[in-house]
């Protein structure tokens, strides 16, 4: 691929304007899924083409881009998306959350608190939170329109009835600004509290399903629950085996085939910064 034959950030200006209009509409109606004419990107759908298009539409030459996949900066997916934007937009990239102006993410929110001026771009596989119980899109549209959300609680009811508690651990549904129910993408529910009143701008792009939605800075994002089964995040009994961090999201790592395992930070940059004393860390 020859970068010179592409427009800045790969997409042509017309397409970027179209995506920006969708983003503006999404910002005006927080949590509402705005359809957009998603383009084919030079990567398969599972690789976050929705997120890539949103990033392409909002990134400028002065931006610093961070890309994470399940919290890690060094997976194939994250590395190639970073390389893609270095090539087609010539932007600087980083692994440090505090240094980034745009962060594209698959399935995590960084541990280090986001600040004003930062944009978090989520890659979304399935944008419709109601689909689990209502496959008809004509019907889910009406349900959103009329704020007819009883079904979301039916799903949580089923969780409690069958597991004794709300077992949903990822893509845990939220209500945005007291109005639209939204799928926060498959982040662990551990990250849900980071979404509410965040100083950063949160944008969500679903490429295959051609939807964009958004949470503007300082917007209330509430995880759905019952009065007698309140929302709670995952807790871990032990700290990170590498950096000793508590109150962060940990991944279980299998060490050998004799059942040896340990729990380590999912946010690899935060973990490394804590161990080396470099960068900003939580």
């Amino acid at each position: 691929m020859n970068a010179a034959t592409y427009n800045f950030a790969y997409l042509d200006e017309q397409t970027k304007r179209m995506i920006r209009r969708a983003i503006l509409k999404a910002l005006a109606i927080p949590g509402y899924q705005v359809p957009f004419a998603a383009r084919e990107m030079p990567m398969p759908y599972g690789w976050g083409t929705g997120g890539v298009q949103v990033t392409a539409a909002v990134i400028g030459p002065g931006d610093v881009l961070k890309v994470i996949d399940q919290g890690a900066d060094d997976t194939t997916n994250a590395v190639s998306i970073r390389a893609f934007f270095r090539k087609v937009a010539g932007v600087a990239t980083t692994t440090h959350t505090a240094e980034a102006t745009v962060i594209q993410t698959r399935h995590r929110i960084p541990e280090y608190p986001l600040k004003e001026g930062q944009i978090l771009v989520y890659q979304v596989p399935i944008p419709e939170p109601l689909r689990f119980l209502e496959p008809r899109e004509t019907e889910t549209r009406v349900m959103h329109g009329l704020e007819d959300y009883g079904l979301m609680h039916v799903k949580l009811y089923e969780d409690i009835a069958h597991h004794g508690r709300i077992a949903t651990a990822y893509a845990y549904p939220v209500k945005v600004a007291g109005r639209y129910v939204m799928d926060p993408s498959p982040i662990p529910k551990f990250d849900n509290p980071k979404m509410t009143m965040s100083p950063a701008l949160q944008l969500f792009g679903a490429g295959r399903e051609k939807r964009i939605y958004a949470v503007p800075p300082y917007t209330e994002v509430k995880s759905l629950d019952f009065e007698d089964h309140p929302f709670e995040v995952q807790t871990f009994n032990e700290p990170c085996a590498l950096c000793g961090a508590r109150n962060v999201y940990l991944d279980e790592v299998v060490l050998d085939d004799r059942g040896g395992r340990m729990f380590v930070c999912s946010d690899t940059d935060n973990c490394e910064s804590r161990r080396t004393g470099t960068g900003a860390q939580s």
Binding site: L133, L151, V154, Y157, A161, H229
Partner: protein, 258 residues
């Protein structure tokens, strides 16, 4: 029965292209009254019921509904949000095929609790308690609450559908052949149950059936339909014991008398 009808229907009509669904339908339904709509297959019963319950848009005529606060509202001009709210609080709709009226993928408890959650109940324990209460009222054992309707017999599914509809204490219930497709003995038990509930709750009911025995057992009044129109109407005993129209006489004579 109070002094104002709960439903006033005037000149209701519905066509499917060139085909007549129903036409010239006018009647009042009174609080606590059970009205049976009978007639042969294709006579327009389901069409009428769907128009009345606003599941289908009529082509002409009016339906005025008396709200809980006593105000009278034309259903054709009611905003959709309000109409939906009415449909899941003040009304019930029992389908002939339980799969059309149940959420087959979730438990019996969730099926009964859904309406409560839809109107804002956010207390799991209370929702479950209410669901248990309703399951027992429709004679479904408490230990089946977490089973899905797929694990239920036809009669149980129909009773679950009824519980799911009645949990918000509706005032008006539409039923389309609720006992159709069930064994005779299962039918009899369901009819007894329905009769008890209708009486205890003071429900207004419009029930579509082609089974005159069902109409006799449940209804106060009967409307006989033929080719989309009402050809005879009156108190149930009068219509069944002394039918005036030759068509009704034929219908009545074709069933064994109770």
């Amino acid at each position: 029965m109070t002094d104002a009808p709960i439903l006033e229907v005037r000149d209701l009509a519905k066509t499917y292209g060139a085909r007549l669904g129903c036409a010239d339908i006018s009647f009042d339904l009174w609080p606590g009254e059970v009205l049976a709509v009978v007639g042969e297959s294709g006579s327009g019963k389901t069409t009428l019921l769907n128009c009345l319950s606003t599941r289908l848009a009529a082509d002409g005529g009016s339906i005025v509904y008396a709200m809980r606060d006593g105000s009278r509202r034309d259903l054709a001009t009611m905003p959709e949000a309000e109409r939906r709210f009415l449909m899941r609080t003040d009304w019930g709709f029992v389908h002939q095929n339980p799969a059309d009226g149940l959420r087959m993928g979730v438990s019996a408890g969730a099926n009964v609790g859904e309406r409560l959650m839809a109107i804002g109940d956010r207390h799991y324990g209370r929702i479950r308690g209410t669901a248990l209460d309703w399951l027992s009222r429709v004679e479904i054992a408490a230990d089946r609450i977490d089973d899905g309707p797929r694990a239920f017999s036809g009669g149980m599914r129909q009773r679950l559908q009824i519980a799911r509809n009645l949990v918000t204490a509706p005032r008006l219930v539409f039923m389309d052949e609720p006992t159709g497709g069930l064994d005779v003995s299962v039918q009899a038990r369901l009819l007894d149950l329905m009769r008890g509930l209708v009486r205890d709750l003071g429900l207004s009911v419009i029930i579509v059936t082609h089974d005159l025995a069902v109409a006799r057992l449940l209804s106060h009044r009967i409307m006989v339909m033929k080719d989309g129109r009402v050809i005879e109407e009156g108190l149930t005993d009068r219509v069944l014991d002394d039918p005036r129209q030759p068509y009704t006489q034929l219908l009545v004579s074709s069933i064994p008398q109770a």
